[in-house]
Symmetry: none
Subunit: 126 residues, 4 copies
């Protein structure tokens, strides 16, 4: 499992860790029932504390991406592709809504925002 944490990012370490694992589950790199590294092994390999890893794992468990069993380990929950897609879209929607709010507070109209988004899409598409 590839994890890269940045100490310079404003994001807390546990959140960076959480996002990276989540993404690997969503894109299929981590398949259902795969055993994740133990919290201690992972903490050591990314040079952070046990509690930080534990927190990332706990939140992922609560969002039903993984499950942990005391004394046994931590595993990727096997989930339908369609459910993963739905979760991805939900998360995206939340952030997109924040963007609309930001645009509004900046005095942009919805049309202006969508125009900008289309332009960015084209640029990203190249």
């Amino acid at each position: 499992m590839w994890i890269h944490l940045s100490n310079e990012s404003k994001e807390p370490l546990y959140k960076q860790l959480k996002v990276q694992i989540k993404q690997q589950i969503i894109d299929g790199t981590l398949a259902g029932d795969t055993e994740l590294p133990s919290i201690r092994a992972l903490a050591k390999s990314i040079q952070t504390s046990v509690i930080t890893v534990k927190r990332a794992y706990s939140e992922l468990e609560q969002e039903e991406f993984i499950y942990t069993r005391a004394g046994r380990g931590t595993f990727v929950k096997s989930t339908d592709k369609s459910i993963l897609q739905e979760k991805a879209e939900q998360q995206f929607e939340e952030e997109a809504n924040k963007l609309f709010h930001l645009g509004g507070s900046l005095g942009l109209t919805l049309d202006e925002m969508v125009t900008i988004i289309h332009r960015l899409k084209e640029e990203n598409n190249e």
Copy 2:
């Protein structure tokens, strides 16, 4: 000047304040060279701490929306509409690009993202 801070919002108070002043400058409610209330007066009137107002003002000054003259007060910088619009768009673009990155890391295609955005636009439009 109308300001309303919500204690229930997750946004820090200083940011709520900053956004509200910024928006009033952008939409023309606060015209160029208008004098803003003193830090102490504003803090008192919106029942918050001096530090909170100070921070909002100093970030607005740094972003060149306002300027302060020691001993005289704080004023709205007179700026071309077009420059304000440009600033707004720049800030929006930055955040929109982050959103595209998030979507990508979630495994969504650009088309899926734009589709979701259009749907949200319609919902916000109602």
Copy 3:
């Protein structure tokens, strides 16, 4: 606020704390918008660590009993009596279902279980 933690209980401290606060919200002792003690003050008064209190508060926030705002404090969420009642019933149901499972694995029939429960009810009623 009255809190009593037992070191002898098998229940983790953070859970004991959580349950006791939750109960006081449900029974109305802690009304909506009441400010809870700061995590540090509470940690000190019950002689536990900041992180333990934080964890209890976080889980209560996630279950929407309270809300915390960085730099401002932690507050009881104002909630309809009826919603509190509903939450109480849900929690009770979960545990009651576990009891039925236990009874089943012990070879008791549903009727036997309900009979026992009625007898206990009478005893508790006296």
Copy 4:
């Protein structure tokens, strides 16, 4: 002897094992003086650790459901049906009393609790 341990269950493996053996004794599948598999044989057949089986056996022995004879093996204790029934009821009662306490702390009345229990019984009955 049929045993099925689930790695996905939150119950510790030793407890799952214990409950399943106990139930088979209570329902008569395992009659008095039946010899149970050796610890090692059972551990191998259900693919778990020796320690897990050992712990289940020793707790069952302590609760007087089975007995071990060094060098000879482990056997089901022959017990009156009525005594088994009584044990089952006692254990159930203990847990039911905890449930009443929980309900009380959640502000539910005894009548409300019994009403919920009846509803759950009907649902489980279907």
